[in-house]
Symmetry: C2
Subunit: 202 residues, 2 copies
Amino acid sequence: MARRGDTIELAVLGLLHEGPMHGYELRKRLNLMLGWGRVLSYGSLYPALKKMLRANLITEVADTTTPVTRRPRITYEVTEAGNDHFQRLMSEVGPTAWEDDNFDIRFAFFSSTDMEIRLRVLEGRRSRLQERLARVQGELERTQAEVNRYAAELQRHGVESVEREVRWLSELIRAERDDESATPSTTQAATQPAAPRATTND
Amino acid sequence: MARRGDTIELAVLGLLHEGPMHGYELRKRLNLMLGWGRVLSYGSLYPALKKMLRANLITEVADTTTPVTRRPRITYEVTEAGNDHFQRLMSEVGPTAWEDDNFDIRFAFFSSTDMEIRLRVLEGRRSRLQERLARVQGELERTQAEVNRYAAELQRHGVESVEREVRWLSELIRAERDDESATPSTTQAATQPAAPRATTND
DNA sequence: GTTAGCATGTAAGGAGTTACATGATTTT
DNA sequence: AAAATCATGTAACTCCTTACATGCTAAC
């Protein structure tokens, strides 16, 4: 079962899916990808890579591209076992998958899974957010008469943000569904289907 | 200097500012307040309270409201030292204050500080977000030609969200400034000045 | 009668950050 | 010549979560 700490593992496997890479580059790509909020440090990346090596999820590969003079870089590649593990992690549904960071990682690597999984993750995330929304709004009604203007404004802004997020997810879900009906026989199809890009103004 | 872990301390002091409370209630209020994302567990709240007791930031007070039959609740109150500490933490500017969680807590307790601090925090937060935006957009231009549709969409959505956040902050800063000019002599004034509530559609 | 909520705590462990250590190379 | 960036790693430490422990009360 996916524990919280599998986040780095999933991220590394997802990135290596696009081709071999060395640690430093992995960190850079990852921080760009999830640059909002927490940033990954070497202190957690390198040990994680070592652990994954031991677990046979990745292997070191001869680095052909190092410009000779440079410090030799350690380039990693996914193994078959690594790919299996990646697919397993991606298709795991349940609490851990809906949380902010975990969702983002999964979403970023959606291209490497199939639509069935994508829809499950998107829908799961959406209902999770809707639950939160309902809970907070319920409690606000009971606790109402909030004296604190600023706390109230923070609440309001929070609710608004989550509502936006829900609309975004709904757009994406709709797009995925349209894809389905638009692709009659092509199973793995990479025929540039309707981009998930939501309209700029809503 | 404010370390990351002072978040709970700040939150507790801020809430007790509104009146005495016991642990269970503190947790509930806090989770409602920052319910988006991580939730505070007893495992961190109670030890933190003990620590604050030892540091003389709070004191136990006789609980008059427990309905006799009930398990006696331990009600806490801020000390003078606690209030000093609270004001010091609130007025501390610098990296820690601009990060997501820390900012939210500070914002929620804005009523307990003065406008000078509020403006500094709001502006600090805004420039922090603008920096991030600039960095990410710069790196996107260089790294462009992103093959991955989904990763690109995540980026787009992230940028859009941060841009919204910046507009929200600008609204709030404007509102604070308007307040300033609207209150000529009243220094601590609680004269219900222009609510920080932003217009629903922008 | 049993689930949910009130109420307070402790112990162990996980995940990741900070700081340290090292050194080459590219840009300013 | 200095500063930034490339590049890899380790050790200590912090903070927090999870799981356990306990027991009462209100609601269904």
